[in-house]
Amino acid sequence: MTIINDFDYVRPTNLKEVFKLLNQNKSAMLLAGGTDLIGNLKEEVIKPKLLIDIKNIKGLNKIKYAKNELLIGALVTFDDLIHSQVILNKCPVVMEMAKTVASKAIRNRATMVGNICSAVPCMDSGAILMVYDARIVISDGKNEWDEPVKKWFKGPRKTILKKNQMVMGIKLPIPKGDHSGVYMKLGRYKGEDLAQATCAVVLSKKEGIKISFGSVAPTPVRALSIEKFLKNNELNEQTVNEIKKLVEKEISPIDDIRASKEYRMHMVKIMLERSLVIAKERLVNPAPAYGISHL
């Protein structure tokens, strides 16, 4: 398959040049891993006149932890997330999520920032970012500021990012004290597949429980009503049915080639129940180990 539409390609080595090019070319696009972008170029979903490859910009491939906050740079790949000692120590559930992304050869290339810039509803990182109240670091070359992730997604493949802006990284505030997390991804089979539904739960002693779903609505969903319910109620055989009813209000899955909406709805309820149990277990024990499938 070849790319029909012509474009120019540049690989600047500093950010100043990137923003100059972005401002000069309305139809320029940024290229990091390219695993979504090049597919879209081939299928003529996008027709940029210029590709700005940011892989030579220094400093964007770092994972840093400071002041209870994790910074994931724009060039950090999913494979980097799997092998990062910082991630493993501070929030292993990010590794658990990264392991479910596509396959090794894609993870070597694909970045988490690229994942949220593509903003395809079945993206893997959406639910995790929602559940951690992540902040997206945006720059226009003059200023740099954060936007909360709940404002970031505008709809399928739509974000608040403007043409002359670039995402520098993602900040994940890590709950103080002990916390545990669970990420579950439902696919048609084990191995490489896009998500039919995803579920992320973070449980901390100080901040309580946070719940989020992905791939079951136009954008990732934070299940605030369930979080509120669980503040006053324990998970048990009686309350589990009430929680499942709340799930129906929080998500709006669709029928598509990968699953029916009924199946998605049914499975999200089961995934949530299981995630709540595992999160609780993980808060006291290191088991079940992070990074293995729970489905």
Partner: protein
């Protein structure tokens, strides 16, 4: 417009003229005559175009040729500089492939896996091969050959 890129391909310095729109897979096959990476799906699903960039596996159908300027690209041809790899010998012994179209991808992936993790479990082998499709064999003989290569039990 053509641009010249310098790439270390299979240990050899190469200068290649590419257009920005050229896909790495096509550059390797058509400009350099390296025919081991193949085009199966052209969208990163099947893994038969897998090559290594700076030692890390990528799907070369989702990389632009121009992106590898200044990088190191290794195809199966490069891995076989000193003859068959051990994993290939095991694959031959076990008759792992039928049509063989997916073989280069599987071999490159298993090479990367064993470089990163010389003693993988069966589950880790499956996980590493998850991005490669084989429509002939049902995978068992391929996975068994890799298991035999690293002497893995469970």
């Amino acid at each position: 417009m053509n641009q010249e890129i310098k790439v270390m391909v299979n240990g050899e310095k190469r200068k290649i003229e590419v257009k920005p729109t050229d896909i790495l897979l096509d550059v390797l096959r058509n400009k350099l005559g390296l025919k081991s990476p193949k085009c199966g799906c052209g969208r990163g699903d099947c893994g038969t175009c897998t090559v290594l960039i700076n030692g890390k596996s990528v799907k070369s159908c989702l990389v632009l040729g121009i992106e590898v300027d200044g990088q190191e690209v290794t195809t199966l041809e490069g891995l076989m500089d000193n003859g068959l790899l051990r994993v290939q010998e095991k694959m031959l012994e076990g008759n792992s492939f039928q049509c063989g179209f997916c073989a280069p991808g599987f071999i490159v992936m298993s090479h990367e896996l064993l470089e990163e993790n010389p003693g993988p479990t069966k589950e880790e082998i499956k996980e590493a091969m998850a991005g490669n499709l084989c429509r002939c064999t049902g995978y068992t003989p391929i996975l068994e050959a890799i298991e035999k290569t690293c002497g893995c039990k469970e």
